[in-house]
């Protein structure tokens, strides 16, 4: 059993967190108030000690990554989320694009010699596409590369499909699954609390809708991920509220695999007046996520937006999964992320080893794919 060393116990207690330490050590669930208190400590090395205790109990030094391909087949989007650098484009606007199915498949075909295991598809809410585009897209990808797991369409998109094409969530998901959908990514959660959500993305599906899509998917036996957009206009209480809502659904279904905190970027969108969250904010959010979300297996850091150095360091603040070797990435780069767009597998593996961790190449469902 991993335990805290006395020097870390002393630091945690000096930060006034001895009761929370006792809960973490005993594996007792933290309350909403505990989460808020954790956010009010500035001694983030103590959060590292608590979060890493939990992380190593689950995974030891294992650090997961996968080789996947991201495809965003359209950036035309009806929604007007103020944090997005990508959306509110109409077909025909400068910079707007919609890939044909052949173009999308071409992206996959270009990687035919690589052991990627997953394709990740997230799109804008495009009012000009027929419903058939989506199942056809999935079928075409499966025909080209049947061994790829397709993780596609956030709950926001599923909700949009249901409304626009007059289907229930279940019907949408059943049709997409029959066409090859394997799981849902966790995007579009942003912040659930209505105050922040109204400001950030008033015309997007609300918290209950987002959670209901995932509930339906879980009941159909699909695994999904979940996210939180942090560091824009939300309060600390709203972040914890967000985590607690996810935790409640997970108690009910157990379908979430991974929680991915997403750091707000401010370039090329309507929130440029805001400062971006600092690395400190990212690290403590990872740690608190690990501690609050006791029923979700994995916490993932997305290095494209975080930077390699912080992503590596986050492995001591509760993170056990790095979103790795991405070959196509549009969304964050339009918002000014300054990190390299791709890493080689060898670079990522070395980065993990240099942090004293053990790399494991996984597929979407956390099967071990290849030796790292």
């Amino acid at each position: 059993m991993t335990e805290l060393s006395p020097v870390s116990v002393r630091a945690v207690d000096a930060a006034g967190l001895s009761d929370i330490r006792a809960k973490v050590q005993a594996g007792v669930r933290l309350s909403f108030e505990d989460g808020v208190r954790l956010y009010h400590t500035e001694e983030i090395a103590t959060l590292a000690a608590l979060a890493n205790l939990d992380r190593e109990r689950r995974w030891g030094d294992l650090t997961f990554f996968n080789r996947n391909v991201h495809v965003n087949t359209t950036n035309v989007c009806e929604a007007s989320c103020i944090f997005c650098s990508f959306a509110r484009l109409k077909t025909g606007d400068a910079g707007a694009y919609t890939m044909s199915i052949d173009e999308a498949v071409g992206r996959i075909r270009a990687l035919r010699d690589e052991l990627i295991t997953e394709v990740h598809i997230v799109n804008g809410l495009n009012p000009d596409l027929p419903w058939g585009y989506y199942p056809d897209l999935l079928r075409a990808i499966k025909a080209e590369r049947p061994d790829l797991h397709i993780k596609a369409f956030t709950a926001v998109e599923i909700h949009y499909f249901a409304e626009k094409y007059g289907k229930s969530y279940r019907e949408v998901l059943e049709e997409l699954r029959a066409a090859g959908l394997g799981s849902l990514p966790g995007g579009g959660a942003e912040i659930f609390h209505p105050r922040a959500r109204r400001k950030l993305c008033h015309d997007k599906v609300d918290a209950d809708g987002w959670l209901e899509v995932h509930r339906v998917a879980h009941r159909m036996g699909m695994r999904t991920n979940c996210t939180m957009l942090f560091g824009s206009i939300e309060t600390v209480e709203e972040r914890i509220d967000h985590m607690v809502r996810l935790r409640s659904l997970q108690d009910e279904t157990g379908g979430f695999q991974t929680f991915i905190p997403l750091r707000f970027h401010h370039e090329n969108n309507r929130l440029q007046r805001l400062k971006e969250p600092t690395g400190f904010e990212s690290l403590r959010t990872y740690a608190i996520s690990r501690l609050m979300l006791d029923n979700i297996d994995h916490i993932k850091a997305y290095w494209v937006m975080l930077g390699m150095k912080l992503a590596q360091v986050s492995l001591n603040w509760g993170v056990d999964d790095l979103d790795g070797t991405i070959r196509e990435e549009r969304i964050y780069h339009m918002a000014g992320a300054k990190t390299p767009q791709e890493l080689t597998r060898a670079e990522l593996v070395q980065l993990i080893r240099d942090a004293g961790r053990v790399p494991v190449e996984r597929d979407t469902l956390y099967n071990v794919v290849a030796e790292a």
């Binding site: 870390s8 294992l62 499966k142 600092t278 690395g279 150095k309």
Partner: protein, 618 residues
Amino acid sequence: MYRVACVGYTNAWPLTRHLDPRVFEVVPCVPSEAARLLREREADLGLIPVAALLTDGDWRVAPGHCIGCDGDVASVLLVGETPIEEWEAVALDGESRTSVVLAQILLKGPLGRPDLRVYPVDAGTGAFHAQGRTGAVVIGDAARNLPARLTTRIDLGRVWKDWTGLPFVFAVWAGRADVGTEAVAGLRAAAEKGLAERAFAPAEDRHYLTANIRYELDDKALMGLRRFAALGHAAGLLARDTFSLYGPSAAPRPRRVDLDTLLARGAEGDRLTLDDGVRLETEARLEDLGNAAHQRRLALHPGREVTYIISRNINYTNVCVTACKFCAFYRPKNHPEAYVLTREQLHQKLTELVACGGVEVLLQGGLNLALGIEYYEDLFRWIKANYPVALHALSPEEIFHIMSVSKLTMEETLDRLIAAGMDSMPGGGAEVLVDEVRKRIAPLKCTSEEWLAVMRMSHQKGLRSSATMMFGVGESSRHRMEHLVRLRDLQDEHGGFTAFICWTFVPENTYVQPGNNTAAAWLRTNATSRLVLDNFDNLQASWVTQGPGVAQASLTMGCNDFGSVMLEENVVSAAGSTWAMTIDDVEHHIRTAGFVPVRRNMRYDHLEVRDVRAQPGV
């Protein structure tokens, strides 16, 4: 002991014949039995046909080796007396389900006969059933000795390869999830030995074992296996479409109780030995090191203040004769990009510095043979006469250079520079103060002893200086700790060092292969430094090399100073590190990390300052 189900096929012996009898007990069987033995726990591991793997239990696959092919396999065929176009049915030989599933996938796909009626027949009777308009799947050694009447012979390995571009995997080592890693390693060791012996196989098998059968379970083979799983599953022929390899253990490392005392002693400011430092740096958990370092930092600086300085790094010349392999900044003297700054250029830089509230100029440059002591004396006097800034100037390396160009002793040189206005000396050029490391990365630089000698004499003369370490050039933990102990010993003599700053080597545009120069390594070494350097007051966070976020983390792991708002830093940026922060940025990062930013001078005195942040260009 692990019981291993092994088939007696020719293609299996390279994997099985050298299984260490002290670890493995071989259970001979036919392929269809291997899965049953595993399922019924009569074996722990087995050479399992992949169709069984993708149908039966939740087994793990051992990485490394398999029985596969990449093109012609010679032993898995569709055979018949007539061409496939004329067939009406195919008999599926029960000897190998994998081949049967493969045949069905290929008949539906590239062979274009999804219409054929298929029916199972007894193991080993495939060739017998192949008559007239009925074809058959035949496998194994039987397929390599076919009667002459079977003129249609379609190699399924070849068809798969032409269709998918991938190898095909027929069988893998697989077993229960709880099989130990030593067993998996033992399978690999046996295979490596056995595969090397294929050259001595009987002539009739040699080609088959070396050219037909492919034993590597590499990325390509794994892709082939994944493709087969997906296609077979989609066709309703296989129950599972995924599998998992054996991975490393998820067991947590136990806490090292023996390190607790060391951590506590370090946190209390007790003197640690070089060996203690090595043990802490290499074996303690990062967060424990960090919490111990922070405790020590709080003992030295009890408030929540974090200092920083407004400074300008002026590199007065980039001409240098040292040619350090890790440097991307220097130029030889006749290079088109070589420069020595003019007074006009210096005036502009210094005026900007003063306008921004700067209190210090950091003056460092290359070793330029054209510049002797008079150049420095004139420059220092001119700066001190015209600008209200402290002169934090020259590294030991530059002192040696001036001594040699102007034929002066170290004492004469230092006396004249101090008389001209030098206030303090940055600790640059220390790199790693261990000569075997220095010789490798900077062969023309002064030795560790020489570097320390300049610092010693400077401190004797009342100059203060900072101390640095640049690491991540492939040195060992012991080298780094030797460096720290040397600095500590010198600090015991005169107490002249104001602060310690370490950073990691930035490899872009240089010729040195980096070692572990990552942020995680920096946090670890930095925290250890706080514990070992018990007689140093201040530790600076090098955000220039680590980025502001990692530097923030270091504020609760040993650092109490955020370095400088630098108006210029040519050397690190030439090597690809591109972080830049304004005064606002620096203060924001200090504040959001829960500390109070305080401006300081080069002696680490806290300054009362007017707010200059409203001024443009800051």
